[in-house]
């Protein structure tokens, strides 16, 4: 009988898988964005909008009209996607020639924040009806995200959502977080966010 000291975090093997995947994607020039939010915050609606906009606006992005290629990833009942599941989904997609792949994660503000999927960028959504206190309740999600998109801004007049307080709370957790305000219904705010996305795609290709 002997004791082996390991002293590594439980997610260490996933972190290693994620790092390998990130390297492979970078070599292919594919930007993988991990999109995270609560159920109903507008992940799919946001994607529909950017697929429509970027097809006509950004030459570098090869998205075929609204018929962008998609696969349904399966987590086997898990509350989050990990690097292994992401690799399986990418293999199914055949992602050798994509500039941008978006992983629409499980609707949940807790578990997806803990697991590295191998994505180069993490983008989270927070919709106005959810409330400006969410950075206080789910700090890890705001800490690990590169971008926070405040969605459904068109309904702001009907809610007491304090944009300044929300941004202050998010920046306190993560001073580097980039914040955009959008409405997929009216299209407001999409220019700035899509410009960020287009830049991220180009930067990922080393330009």
């Amino acid at each position: 009988m002997r004791i082996i000291e390991l002293k590594e975090t439980v997610t260490a093997s996933n972190d290693r898988d994620a790092e390998v995947l990130r390297g492979e994607l970078k070599a292919k020039g594919t930007l993988l964005v991990n999109l995270m939010a609560s159920p109903g915050a507008g992940k799919t609606t946001l994607l529909e909008r950017i697929i429509r906009d970027m097809d006509s606006d950004v030459d570098a992005v090869r998205i075929e009209k609204l018929g962008a290629k998609a696969v349904q990833a399966h987590t086997g009942g898990m509350c989050h996607m990990d690097a292994g599941m992401t690799r399986t989904a990418l293999d199914e997609l055949g992602a050798d020639h994509f500039d941008l792949v978006v992983l629409e994660n499980v609707g949940n503000l807790i578990c997806p924040a803990e697991f590295d999927t191998g994505a180069q960028k993490r983008v989270m959504l927070l919709s106005v009806p959810e409330g400006d206190d969410k950075p206080l309740k789910y700090p890890l999600m705001f800490s690990v995200s590169d971008v926070l998109i405040l969605t459904k801004t068109d309904v702001a007049p009907y809610f007491d959502f304090d944009f300044d307080a929300c941004k202050r709370r998010a920046r306190q957790l993560n001073p580097r977080i980039e914040i955009f305000e959008v409405s997929a219904k009216t299209g407001a705010g999409f220019d700035a966010w899509e410009e960020w996305l287009a830049r991220a795609i180009l930067e990922n290709k080393g330009n």
């Binding site: 002997r2 390991l6 997610t11 093997s13 898990m78 807790i110 206080l136």
Partner: protein, 114 residues
């Protein structure tokens, strides 16, 4: 909150370790779990006992949990305080500019093997 997911990753890490070191049976796994890691220890142990049966190398492994106390640092008065007792607001100067120093970890400390 996501105990089963963490158990899956724990099992994967341990199986990799067992393969690398040619271990047949793990008898005990000691985990260090932070007080504010969000892991419910009772539920976590239940998940482990359910899950380990599916893996030959883990089936005999008892789970032992050690708690890491959560400590928060106040960047205003530069003091530290116990997170669970006082939460986000510094008990000394009442500032909200506080940061978790430790307490959200989940670390595999050691394993006992045959």
């Amino acid at each position: 909150m996501h105990e089963m997911g963490i158990i899956l990753h724990l099992a994967k890490s341990l199986e990799e370790e067992a393969r690398a070191q040619d271990i047949q049976k793990i008898l005990r796994v000691t985990l260090q779990v932070g007080e504010v890691s969000g892991i419910m220890t009772d539920y976590f142990t239940d998940c482990w006992n359910y899950f380990r049966k599916r893996h030959p190398v883990l089936s005999t492994a008892e789970l032992e949990l050690e708690t890491i106390p959560a400590v928060t640092f106040c960047s205003n008065c530069e003091k530290t305080y116990p997170t669970v007792q006082y939460g986000r607001e510094c008990p000394y100067c009442h500032s909200g500019e506080t940061w978790l120093l430790r307490g959200n970890e989940c670390i595999i400390k050691e394993i006992e093997v045959e």
